[in-house]
Structures are given as C-alpha cells and as structure tokens.
C-alpha cells in the first residue's frame, strides 16, 4: 500500500515508513534516546530528499521526547533555570542553523554536508560508546570495580567568568559554556534534524559536572523547545516539513518506544551501550560508503531554484 508524501513529492510504501518508525521508536525506548540521529539517515536511505528528512526528523523528535519531558517535569527532576539558559543558546543556534541550512541548499551542498556531519558524529559517538562499553564489560569480567571519576575542581570550564548559581543542580557555573553547548546543539538540530541528547547528556555530565539526576530532564526540556521551534522555522523558510511522513513515523515510533523501554529494562547497561554503539557505527558507515561510491549520474536537476 503506497501513500503520497505531499512535501517530499513521492509515493512510498506505508508499511516501510511504519516499520522504520517502529524500529527507531523501539531503539529509542530501549536506549533512552530521541532517535532523530537514526530516523534522518534511514529516511535518506529510503530516497526521501535530505531537506525533507532533516526537517521531518526534528518534528518526529518532538513526539518521541514529549512523554519523557512530561515525566521529568512532574517529578521535578530538571533544573528550570539551567534549562532556560541552555534554551537561550539553543534557540539562537537553531536560528543560525536554519540560515546555514538554507544557504547550503541554495549553493547545492546541503546533501553533502548533512551526510558528512552524520558520518563524523555517528562515527565518533558510536566509536566512543563501543570502546567505553567493551572496556566496562572487560572490567566486569575481571571483577575490577570501576574507577570513579574524581570531581575535577580545577577544570578550565570552572574558571570562566559570568558565573551564575543554579540552585536545583547545586552548582555555581559560568553561563558561557552552558549557552555555548545549547548553541551548538541548536545548530545540530536544524542542520541534522536531531534532538542532540546523545551529545548534550555526556557534555553536561563530564564537561559541566551537572548532577546526573537533573541532566536528562533538563536536556529534554531544551530538546522539546528547540525541536518544536526548528520544526516551525523549517516549515516557514524551507517548506520542508512533511506532516504526512511525520505523522506515520510518530504513530509507529511512540508505540515502538513503549516496547523498547520494556526490553531495555531487562538488558545490562554495558551490553545495551555496546549494541547501540555498533548500530550507530553501522549507520555512519553506510552513509560514508554512499559518499565515496561513484554515483549513477554525476548530473542532477533542480527545477524552480534560484
């Protein structure tokens, strides 16, 4: 059964779209990630134009992050002040990101840059996860207790000016790295169609030393607003949000996520991270191959541009 995607301007098999949404939803529930970094490349593999894949990916992240965000909001496990500072950076980054996105599209380099960014980010994150989880599994096998990270009081991040007190997180921190982190994630949201949790969470824990109990809630707070904002701005500037595609991905995704969560609770942390690392690496590799393989036709036509 095929459906016509009005913005992507092509007919797709509805079951493939639902299957993709469910699979990514399942994984995002299992690993506790938004899934934007998997859905966008998968859509590109399925010949959805990257412009549409990125904008629709951002829309899909809104759906996959909202239930987590509500849960953390109810429990109060987020730092609203820290989240707001992150959000200021995030919205600014997303705005500039959209501008970069439109510019790249105009000069015909958007598809290439999206693929390159994915190869770099997926390769790095996947590789790090795999290395970390394998060494954790080795330690577990040898029964060596993990060496706890010592809180680095003399970290360079903590020497920056413009310090602010974040009561909920119980830290006294410069706003510069917080805004900068939000800004970077905002650019990634608009250019790659990801929520950015897979970068933001480790950065908040290891770089900013924010207590883990508020990290996930606070990052979800920022993700919800930045992805929602990006969706609206993408729709307004590039007309590239495909609501039909997004809807089927979301429906399948949120259902898949519920089952993913249940499976995830039964698996051990290191195994889970090793699996996710492998998956992320595989997606990155597939994109890298597409970049170097000789294309079927070196010419392409865009009607109505310029």
């Amino acid at each position: 059964m095929t459906i016509y995607l009005p913005i992507a301007e092509l007919s797709v098999n509805i079951f493939i779209i639902l299957g993709m949404g469910a699979a990514v939803g399942f994984l995002s529930g299992m690993f506790g990630v938004g899934g934007g970094f998997l859905i966008t490349p998968l859509l590109i593999f399925y010949n959805i134009p990257p412009v549409v894949a990125v904008a629709t990916g951002a829309n899909q992240v809104v759906a996959s992050s909202i239930s987590g965000a509500i849960t953390h909001f109810r429990r109060g496990s987020l730092d609203l002040k820290l989240g707001t500072v992150l959000l200021i950076g995030g919205l600014t980054g997303a705005t500039i990101g959209i501008w970069i996105f439109s510019l790249l599209r105009r000069i015909g380099q958007l598809d290439l840059i999206i693929s390159l960014l994915y190869v770099v980010f997926l390769g790095t994150v996947g590789g790090l996860m795999l290395v970390e989880s394998v060494s954790a599994m080795r330690r577990a096998a040898k029964n060596v207790p993990p060496t706890p990270r010592r809180p680095g009081h003399h970290h360079w991040v903590h020497k920056l000016p413009l310090k602010m007190r974040f009561k909920k997180s119980k830290i006294f921190l410069s706003v510069i790295p917080v805004v900068a982190l939000g800004f970077g994630i905002g650019i990634l949201t608009s250019v790659m169609g990801v929520g950015g949790g897979f970068i933001m969470v480790p950065a908040m824990i290891y770089l900013l030393r924010i207590p883990t109990n508020v990290v996930v809630g606070t990052s979800l707070f920022q993700i919800i607003f930045v992805t929602a904002y990006t969706t609206v701005v993408q729709a307004a500037t590039n007309f590239s949000v495909d609501i039909v595609l997004a809807f089927f991905l979301m429906i399948a995704g949120v259902i898949g996520a519920q089952y993913g969560v249940r499976v995830g609770q039964k698996l051990r942390g290191e195994q889970l991270r090793a699996l996710l690392g492998l998956l992320v690496l595989a997606v990155g590799l597939r994109l890298a191959v597409a970049l170097v393989v000789t294309p079927a036709d070196v010419y392409s036509v865009v009607m109505g541009a310029n």
Binding site: T2, Y4, L5, P6, I7, E9, S11, N59, Q60, V62, A63, S64, S65, I66, S67, I70, T71, G108, Q109, L112, L116, A228, T231, V232, V233, Q234, A235, A236, T237, F239, V241, I243, V244, A246, F247, M250, I251, V254, I255, A257, Q258, L291, V292, V293, T294, P295, D297, V298, Y299, S300, V301, V302, M303, G304, A305, N306
Partner: protein, 268 residues
Amino acid sequence: MRRFLAALLSIVLLLPTAAMAQMLLPGQAAQSKTEGLEIGTSTSEIAITSDFRGADLTIFGAVTNTDSLLLAIGQYDVVVVLEGPRENATVRRKERVFGVWMNTRSMTFEAVPHSYSMSSSRMLDDITTPLDLTDRGIGIDHIPLTPVGFVGNASNLGEFRQAFRRLQENGGLYDRDPSGVRFVSSSLFKASLRLPANIPNGVHTVRAYLFKSGNFITEKSVPLRVIKTGIEQMITDAAHSQPIAYGLVSVFLALITGWGASVVFRKD
C-alpha cells in the same frame, strides 16, 4: 482516470473545414489558399488527484485548406506539444573531491518548461531541418536553454544542456512520441500526449505546428490548466500559503501523539 480524462478532453473542430471549403469560389487558384490549423479541447482545465500515475491525453485537430494531392502523398506533418509552466532549472555536476563526490559546477537555465510532452506524425528530423526546429524551439533537443549569468567555458554549456535534456527525459517529464499524431481522415488528426505522473501544477500550453513539404506553415496554441486535487494537495497548499500555521500544526500533532501514547500505555 483515463476514461475521465478522455471525457473531459473530447474535442472541438470539424466546422471550420466545411465552412471554408464552401467559401472557395470556382476558378480560384489552388496555390493562393493557405492551410489553416485548428485544435481544441472541450475543457481548459484538468483536475488530477495526488495518486495520479500518469495518463494519455488525446487532442484532436484539423488541417484546413489542404491540397489533396500533397495530402495523399503525405506531405503534411503535424507536431503537437504539451508544454508545462516555465521555470528556471539548475543543473549540477558532481566531481570527486578528496575521495568524496560533491557538486562542483552548476548552471542555471532560464525559463525552461517544467514538462514537455511531444508527439508528431513522423520523426522530427524527417519533418524539417534541425535549423528550422531550433529557430522555433520545437522538440526536446531544440528547446532553447539559455544560461543565466556568465558561462566561462562554452564546451561546458553543451555538456550541461545535454545532461538536462537526458535527465528530464529519463525522469519522464520530457517525452516524445514520433508516431503519436495520426490522421484519422484526410484533414482530421488525433494526437496522443503523455501526461507524466509528476506533472507540475499550473498553466500548460498545448501547441500544434503544421509543416508542408518540410516548410513551417502555421501554429496554434491553447492554454490548459492542470489542477491537483485531494487531501495531499491541500496539505501542499497549506504548507506554502500558511507556513507558520502549518509548522505549528505539525508540532501540535507531535505533542498530541507523544503525549497520547504515554497516556494510553500507562493504563496497561
């Protein structure tokens, strides 16, 4: 769908032929009369749904004041074209840079038809000279492709033009049928044109050209509006006319879906 189209586009004509034949006075020199060309469609609009997979459009026409001798030996040729709305087209070429394929060169052609479906009574090259075709811009190989801005290397120009024509033809937007025009009686002809699945919205033009013994005689054109209908088209229109509202609805839909699922699944 096809039957629907055929019904919509059933024809005009015939009347001029009879009327003009009667107007000829006895003794009038046969050479002085000039041939006329009539085409028609019963509608100026085609509505297609978004699941449209392409169809054939049939157009009828008549050649008037023909010389029966020349007609008998097949000296009259007709070319019928359905030309889509004109837009600028950018052609890009990829090259390997540090092992990665990227777009390095591009060229934009000014106001080229988005779609071009042509049918003729013979191969175009047998009808008239390439020079004449180029002069009038008839045929996929002769549509004028004027680059916008400065073009450094003239050999690139030929390459890009060729690539554009090839890509449009492979994608189905440009189509040719050298046996698509058939004379059904001495002066009446029938042309079938291919409407591609991805036919663009907007005002198209049906053009017919008449040739006699390799010489261009006359042309006729009528506008034809293609309108897409259905829910998918409504969504496309909304995305372009109310982009901010469209974006907000997309976000709202995501919030409802995500939140709805967490409510539904909490109960079991």
